[in-house]
């Protein structure tokens, strides 16, 4: 296999851990086993205590809007170490956890990514954008 094909394969593999379909916080909270199916066929489970934390941070009316897992988008064009959280409810939750104002999109940096991942290790996932 030549180098270009290997790189293309590697790039295609980068986002294979993402879910085929995201579920809302409301759906996750009402499910006995809150989980999503990944693109590579595996199962990604959410920890219930994280779901409860998210439920505390958002009013009940917005539980339907929050899609899980929350994507932390890593994009080389944002600069090394910078990331983006998109989606209104998602950005609001992340902003509240980090003590930042967010409207629609939240730009975060490496220490904040670490903090967010520490608090929401199963309900957030990295998304690679190019």
């Amino acid at each position: 296999m030549n180098a270009d094909r290997l790189i293309k394969l590697e790039l295609a593999r980068l986002n294979m851990h993402l879910p085929e379909k995201r579920i809302s916080l409301k759906e996750a909270l009402s499910s006995a086993k809150p989980q999503v199916r990944t693109r590579e066929g595996g199962v990604h489970s959410f920890k219930r205590r994280e779901l409860e934390l998210l439920a505390e941070l958002l009013p009940e009316a917005d539980w339907e809007k929050l899609q899980l897992p929350i994507f932390i988008a890593l994009e080389p064009k944002l600069g090394r170490g910078a990331a983006r959280v998109s989606g209104e409810a998602e950005a609001r939750v992340a902003g509240r956890l980090l003590g930042k104002e967010a409207t629609g999109e939240l730009r975060i940096y490496r220490p904040e990514v670490a903090l967010l991942r520490r608090k929401l290790s199963t309900t957030t996932q990295y998304l690679f954008v190019w």
């Binding site: 270009d4 790189i7 851990h17 920890k47 490496r110 290790s121 190019w130």
Partner: protein, 212 residues
């Protein structure tokens, strides 16, 4: 260099090489981002491991002290007998979660703590010091489960980090420099061919003028 890469010096090849270089650069940047994210994850897990290990060691020391106390009060034989009668089943739910393509265990553990009635040994023949020792060991067990989960995650991250590092290095130190060098060679060769052509044309023009 150009021939080693299987390229011939022409404009088409320049376009192809630029495309390949762009792809390699993009792959390199993204893999570097992945490595950074893996390092963040590893440091986080490492912090957890240190924390759980300290807590577990402290708790185990307390538990062993309680057990020694139990041996002294109840006697070794009675304590061992009570331990044999104790129920050993624990409710642990192990599922998977995905972290950048790595499948890692996610352990949901409700805790090992039970009350004296549900442990299984006889309350008539045992002392309250046995309850205390059992309680301390149950607490320690909870911490050990969390420590085991964190260590499994750390191991998986390290393996993936190693792979990503190898790929980043291959791109950074082998493929990208090779492509850049080939591109430079072709551009230089094309410039040289243009200069040769120019000189040839000038020479032809001079010859033609001489003939006139």
């Amino acid at each position: 260099m150009a021939t080693a890469l299987g390229v011939s010096p022409n404009r088409m090849e320049v376009m192809k090489l630029k495309k390949r270089l762009g792809l390699a650069q993009r792959g390199h940047d993204l893999l570097k981002e992945k490595m950074d994210a893996l390092v963040i994850e590893f440091l986080e897990v490492f912090r957890k491991i240190q924390d759980f290990r300290t807590k577990a060691l402290k708790q185990l020391s307390t538990a062993h002290r309680a057990l020694t106390n139990c041996f002294a009060v109840m006697g070794t034989l009675e304590t061992t007998q009570a331990a044999r009668e104790t129920k050993r089943e624990l409710q642990i739910e192990i599922s998977t979660r995905y972290l950048m393509g790595i499948s890692i265990p996610a352990v949901e553990f409700g805790g090992a703590q039970r009350n004296a009635l549900t442990r299984g040994y006889s309350l008539h023949t045992t002392s309250s010091v046995l309850d205390e020792a059992a309680m301390e060991f149950e607490r320690a067990l909870g911490l050990l489960v969390e420590l085991a989960e964190a260590e499994a995650v750390a191991l998986a991250i390290i393996r993936e980090l190693e792979k990503a590092k190898r790929r980043v290095n291959a791109l950074e130190y082998i493929l990208i420099p090779k492509l850049k060098e080939a591109l430079k060679f072709i551009l230089m060769r094309l410039d040289e061919m243009e200069r040769e052509n120019f000189t040839r044309l000038k020479r032809i023009k001079a010859i033609l003028e001489e003939r006139r």
